[in-house]
Symmetry: C2
DNA sequence: AGATTACTTGACTCCATAGTCAAGAAATGT
DNA sequence: ACATTTCTTGACTATGGAGTCAAGTAATCT
């Protein structure tokens, strides 16, 4: 509850160093272990005490907000960009889902964001909404083209992502290849009915 | 670490009453809230102190073992029986999966058992293995009949159950109807390729 | 260099849950 | 009805993580 950083015109040198160090440490630690990692580990990685994190950032949530963009936003942008480059509505929709699901596998932190395993924050909500809206558009288009089952709803799409996150957290050990193979089953189930691969 | 009950020839009257009361309370509490509910709640429901539970049963795991059969075994037997009554291999396989998935929705405790969210115990392991073996048999038969994708492995089948458990725990609010509708997507994805409903 | 102010620290509180145990309560045997 | 034995209790310890704060340390200003 000290200074969440807006009023101070300039931090002292050591404080500036620490803010940066903590950000980097948080990036590292969260990237590899997800957003639920205890702050003590971030502190240790930054060579700083837990108290310092709280003084510099104010709360766990604020620290997450400070790194979530670097952690996830770019990945989402990449996905959107890659998908936009495709033409076929079915390919666009399936590629989108597949890339999201693989992102969830590859980056525990991204998974935590997409599945909201954490105190809500404006940043996070904005990110999720953005991805959601994009996905819904793709869904509509694929359905309009008759490629995806018409009874698949936008809410179902959200669930497909949420569930994957929970599934991943629960079944940790699976290889990426197995994981991807299983995703294929899921995609098949969403296609409009008789249609060659 | 007192007496896990085998040596004593006969408990005192109040102890016998309590054992039964605790079992009933555990059944109730676990049934509605899953096997991860704190033992204090079972104690409260039984009108007994937590210490008594430990004295009578020895550990959390032992208490679970003492009720898991009543909690789950019969449901599994029902499923197996209902499925055995069917003829078509595809119908058998899909009915089995669907019933398992709905059991997971209907009974949090059964879900906890099937997904092993708890200290391993012989009882539990036995139950899971039994269901697993049955499912694998159905899978083989459905694949032999050409009704289910040949690249679906027994391990995949296990994952389908495990994942559903995690998904359920994570996405609590969904209605049974929505849940069932989504299961249909999953089933579709497992079918051998061009085949009418 | 000394005074001032900003910053850091780690020991502390708080919460929730598993599991334990000495002391008191209650059933049983005679 | 009392001695004996069994049982119950609730306060206690332990664990692990979030968040706080008084006291000590170090940058900065003059």
């Amino acid at each position: 509850m000290t200074h969440p950083r807006p009023p101070q015109p300039r931090l002292r040198a050591d404080a500036r160093r620490n803010v940066e160090g903590i950000r980097q440490a948080a990036l590292d630690v969260f990237r590899t272990s997800g957003l639920t990692t205890p702050l003590d580990e971030v502190a240790k990685a930054a060579g700083v005490s837990k108290g310092t994190i709280y003084h510099r950032f104010g709360s766990r949530r604020a620290l997450i907000d400070a790194v979530v963009d670097d952690l996830v936003a770019e990945r989402l942008r990449d996905i959107i960009e890659a998908v936009e480059a495709l033409d076929d509505p079915l390919a666009r929709f399936e590629d989108y889902l597949l890339r999201m699901w693989l992102l969830q596998y590859d980056e525990p932190a991204a998974n935590d964001v997409l599945t909201r395993v954490l105190p809500d924050s404006v940043q996070l909500t904005t990110l999720c909404d953005k991805a959601n809206r994009f996905g819904r558009r793709l869904l509509e288009e694929a359905q309009a083209a008759g490629a995806i089952r018409p009874d698949l709803t936008p809410a179902d799409l959200t669930y497909l992502i949420l569930e994957r996150g929970a599934a991943l957290r629960a079944c940790a050990g699976q290889s990426r290849a197995d994981y991807a193979r299983r995703l294929d089953f899921l995609l098949h189930g969403l296609r409009s009915w008789p249609r060659p691969a």
